[in-house]
């Protein structure tokens, strides 16, 4: 029993608080006061007796604030003389600045239709943003071609290094394994016909034509696209982009262009490298498991791959380079103003990057089919 009532006598209700009034203790709830105030109609004044109160912490002022609000609702005078001095001071501080009513974001009751509407509007808005972004990126690229774009060479080289040379280890590992896996899966089928030698064709064509490009694309989306989004997002959070804008420097040219260029230069190179590693992986299976000899495998691969396949693969990778860079930079620029927004931007850059890579692969494959190449 921590909270007791005396009275009301002559319209005065005395609230007696006793014991340890601390968080974690078994405290009486302010609802008791509420019911008391509601059941008795002739209360004009509330007083406190805290002689038996031993210790208290924030939970006491919280209770008192609630009582205070109840009292002012019911136009009852709250006499706080009986309260500990410190608690009175804390309440004064807490009520010094009135509650900002507008500051709470209002959660409206949303119907299904208004939700669908809001989503649609949001989708259209983000589609518009994306198209505008692509347009601006294109303009920046034109400016680059005419030599008027404003960016720092050193940024370009740093980015080239970051998304080129530094990506080699992971690209090697993944491509080698992909080549190996392709060969493994194919080997079981081809062995049934005694056509093991065609494993070289299978791996070679698959790697060079799409798999090399797709694998590097996905690696770069996870590695570099996310990094771009996080870098640019952090700049947005730190007002660095604002600082660029007010200086009259276009973030498009200064930040997006070097990143886009770096990826467009480096992706085809990485892709060729990935192709080689994939073929090497296929070779390991072919020579190690299927008893083909090295020169046989080499000649078979060389005959299987046409220059066309290589061009198509390189075209894929250049397209992926643009897509990954754009996805990363777009999500970075769209980033909000908090640290968690940066994380979301990076995640969403990877998702956008990978989805657009797969969609682009499908489109290019169909186009090649139609054109017969």
């Amino acid at each position: 029993m921590k909270l007791r009532f005396n009275g009301p006598t002559d319209g005065v209700l005395m609230i007696r608080l006793s014991g340890n009034w601390q968080i974690g203790e078994d405290l009486s709830s302010p609802n008791e006061v509420k019911t008391k105030l509601e059941s008795e109609t002739d209360i004009q004044r509330v007083t406190f007796d805290t002689k038996e109160l031993t210790q208290w912490d924030s939970s006491l002022p919280i209770l008192l604030l609630k009582i205070k609000n109840l009292c002012s609702e019911k136009k009852i005078y709250m006499d706080s003389d009986g309260l500990p001095r410190g608690a009175n001071r804390l309440i004064e501080l807490a009520t010094a600045v009135p509650i900002e009513k507008d500051a709470r974001s209002v959660e409206e009751n949303k119907t299904f239709f208004s939700l669908v509407g809001a989503e649609t509007i949001h989708f259209l808005k983000s589609a518009k943003e994306m198209i505008a972004f692509i347009g601006e990126a294109f303009l920046a690229f034109i400016k680059f071609l005419s030599g008027k774009a404003r960016y720092r060479r050193s940024d370009l080289f740093m980015t080239i290094q970051g998304c080129g040379a530094k990506a080699l280890p992971i690209v090697s590992l993944i491509s080698l394994l992909v080549g190996l896996i392709l060969a493994f899966v194919g080997a079981i089928q081809l062995k049934m016909f005694g056509a093991q030698i065609y494993i070289a064709d299978l791996v070679g064509i698959a790697m060079v034509r799409v798999m090399g490009a797709v694998m590097t694309g996905i690696i770069m989306a996870g590695r570099t696209g996310a990094a771009f989004a996080a870098q640019i997002g952090t700049m947005e959070v730190n007002e660095e982009i604002d600082a660029l804008k007010t200086l009259g420097i276009s973030p498009m040219e200064f930040l997006v262009l070097p990143r886009m260029l770096a990826l467009v230069f480096m992706m085809p190179l990485l892709c060729i490298y990935a192709d080689l590693m994939g073929i090497l992986g296929g070779g390991i299976v072919g020579i190690g498991m299927l008893d083909l000899n090295m020169s046989q495998y080499y000649i078979q691969t060389k005959e299987a791959i046409s220059l066309n396949d290589l061009w198509i693969g390189l075209f894929h990778s250049a397209v992926f380079g643009v897509l990954v860079a754009l996805a990363g930079c777009l999500r970075g620029i769209q980033c909000g103003r908090s640290a968690s927004d940066v994380g979301n931007a990076a995640t969403s850059a990877v998702v956008t990057g990978i989805v657009s890579i797969i969609v682009a692969t499908a489109i290019i494959t169909v186009m090649c089919n139609v054109l017969g190449i």
Partner: protein, 255 residues
């Protein structure tokens, strides 16, 4: 001191979405003024600055630079104005991938034809003006918050702009550096004729350098007063302003 009007804010209302922060702001910054924007934390001072420098569109109202209606001008005119503005952001906003020297040098490279040598000298000079000589090759992450603020000031004054906006320049500085900063601001005005708009809570600075000010009141969501801060303290009847200008120690001083 009477100065001719330079930046004029008319019936300005600012909002984030539907959330109105301040409405009906009207004030004039004269040429050569050191104009103070003051008000409680979170009342919209930084937002007001962003609108004045063209980073955020006002919900309603106009900002004039001379005769030019800033928000309705063609982009080229706007760009021209903005090029003459040096800005210190509340967070410093140094470009984190560049050294302090490169940060200060970028505006110079962008808008002047100086040789790399001349730029290097200018950069060292600007950094030494804010007490950061010798830190040329440090990255923003390698220096303290107060130093970042000062480096931000060096970058803002790199081009000797006509107009300077400082968002809480002395926040995070020790009293001695803060005083030096006040002297620097006065000197920029006196020797270069710059117009300076300063967002600050630092009472000492407000009275030492400000010759005009606006007080934003977050309760009524509009400005409570404009004028010389010393005059405001003497003549204002508004307890909120007096309370602010006396650091809340008004008990016993209230008339």
């Amino acid at each position: 001191m009477k100065t001719d009007p330079f930046i004029i804010v008319r019936d300005l209302t600012m909002a984030y979405g539907d959330y109105v922060i301040m409405r009906d702001l009207n004030f004039t910054v004269g040429r050569g003024d050191i104009f103070i924007i003051m008000g409680g934390s979170g009342c919209g001072k930084s937002t007001l600055m962003k609108i004045m420098v063209g980073l955020k569109e006002p919900a309603r109202g106009k900002v004039f630079y001379g005769d030019l209606n800033f928000w309705e001008a063609v982009p080229d005119d706007r760009k021209h104005i903005v090029q003459n503005i040096g800005i210190l952001y509340q967070s410093g906003a140094l470009w984190s991938s560049m050294t302090l020297a490169e940060n200060v040098a970028l505006p110079l490279e962008e808008y002047t034809d100086l040789s790399p040598n001349e730029i290097r000298e200018l950069v060292s000079f600007k950094l030494s003006m804010v007490g950061l000589a010798g830190y040329e090759d440090f990255y923003p992450a390698q220096i303290s918050g107060g130093m970042r603020k000062r480096a931000g000031i060096a970058r803002a004054i790199a081009l000797d702009p006509d107009i300077l906006f400082f968002d809480e320049p002395s926040a995070g500085l020790d009293p001695v550096s803060a005083k030096r900063l006040d002297d620097l601001i006065l000197e920029l005005r006196n020797s270069l004729g710059a117009t300076v708009v300063v967002v600050t809570h630092e009472l000492a600075s407000i009275f030492a350098i400000g010759n005009n000010s606006v007080f934003l009141d977050s309760e009524t969501r509009t400005m409570a007063a404009v004028g010389n801060p010393k005059m405001l303290l003497e003549n204002s009847q508004d307890p909120k302003i007096i309370n602010f200008l006396m650091r809340g120690e008004t008990e016993g001083h209230l008339r």
